[in-house]
Symmetry: C2
């Protein structure tokens, strides 16, 4: 870990820490070839947000937590970048929700699946949590997707009613929405297909978004679902915050 990233008082600490986590994950074989580029795109949008959790992101995170708590069969989907950047927070959220966490990746190979599952299970042991970690034995497919990327668990993603899919590909987000699920996305680009198509989109950096949800669950317990929640309006508010960041410059 380089010297800047080891000093939490450095203004770029959080950003450098995330890069360090990605590098470590790449060494473990957890990431797809496109992982670093995707992360860089996120960094640019976070830069426009001022690297902070906006009011609209807080509102989206509150609703996301509420619908996950209110779900019959919630599930948290984890891909390579999510495992690299925020494995512990995803495990903690699965624990709070008493729901499974399913490894589900776009570029599925046995090697990457093994690397991801072994890392997540290692962290689960360290944290001492009882979370069910799925992904090792897919027995169903997501309709509308082709090849290995469609593979999922019946008792996980397939039969879930509410799913959290952070940093998700647009095609897969669309396929999940088409299945009738409530799809919660965490995506720094408010213009991405995933962000647009989801039921609820938190426009925020992954670990900040997860910590907003974890803090809320700790301080308020069960959060009521806001039946007047307006996905498009909250997204527009996120976009407006980026516009004002550009104007401030």
């Amino acid at each position: 870990m380089d010297e800047i990233a080891a000093d939490p008082s450095h203004p770029r600490y959080a950003s450098l820490l995330m890069r360090h986590r990605l590098e470590a994950a790449a060494e473990r074989g957890m990431l797809a070839g496109s992982a670093m580029i995707a992360h860089g795109r996120g960094e640019a949008f976070d830069y426009l947000l001022g690297e902070r959790t906006t009011e609209s992101a807080k509102q989206a995170a509150r609703q996301a937590l509420a619908v996950l708590q209110d779900a019959e069969r919630p599930v948290l989907s984890v891909n390579g970048n999510v495992a690299a950047l925020a494995c512990d927070d995803m495990l903690r959220l699965a624990d709070v929700l008493a729901c499974p966490l399913e490894v589900n990746i776009f570029y599925r190979t046995p090697e990457r699946m093994k690397a991801l599952l072994s890392y997540i299970n290692e962290r689960k042991e360290v944290l001492g949590l009882e979370v069910a970690v799925l992904g090792d034995a897919p027995n169903a497919t997501i309709p509308g997707l082709k090849g290995p990327r469609a593979a999922c668990h019946r008792e996980g993603i397939l039969e879930s009613d509410v799913i959290l899919v952070p940093l998700e590909d647009g095609d897969r987000c669309q396929a999940l929405v088409a299945m009738g699920k409530t799809v919660v996305v965490i995506d720094l680009n408010p213009l991405s297909r995933s962000a647009q198509q989801a039921s609820i989109t938190i426009v925020d950096e992954l670990s900040r978004a997860l910590n907003t949800m974890l803090d809320l669950a700790e301080s308020e317990g069960v959060v009521p679902v806001d039946n007047a929640y307006d996905h498009a309006a909250v997204l527009d508010a996120g976009l407006a915050e980026m516009l004002s960041a550009l104007k401030r410059a």
Copy 2:
């Protein structure tokens, strides 16, 4: 090369071709660990520009070509991402300007320098150009920078009056400006320190910016320097184009 990137009619052809070039360069050991993340950040800003060359970028490219043509000792600086993404265009521009091209990288190691120099010289042979390629035997340092990143050639960067440094780090850009040079930057982020500090900043994707200059040199020959060129105003115009892209969404 994946199948989409092999089809020039694909709407994402240019973007996928650039990713492919980076992957190939990574395999040759030409890139720093941060290369892919930096590229991803650029992709996000290019997305906001609509992946096209704006009017303000054309204006900046025209002035950049003019000051390079007007220089006593112009030089083109090449780092890992620049060599990966646009080696041939940089060699062609050096040929048009009859100036040296200097490999100058932030994370300097003998292995990366060797990989870069061998690739550039290989492409120079293929293109049949007579360009002087420097970087192998630095004999001077850039004042204000520490360690290997300060190393440069006296007959190249040190004594140049006008320097093109595409995709440059903010500290290095600042050090070059402090030396009294006219510094031309190509950077997709109009808010970056490099973009702000440079004498002329082309807010455009690297190969598009270089091709704008090459086309101009071919069609117009020597381009006159615009003495009323306003760096800050052109940058503001680039920012305004991004704002309008966000508003269109």
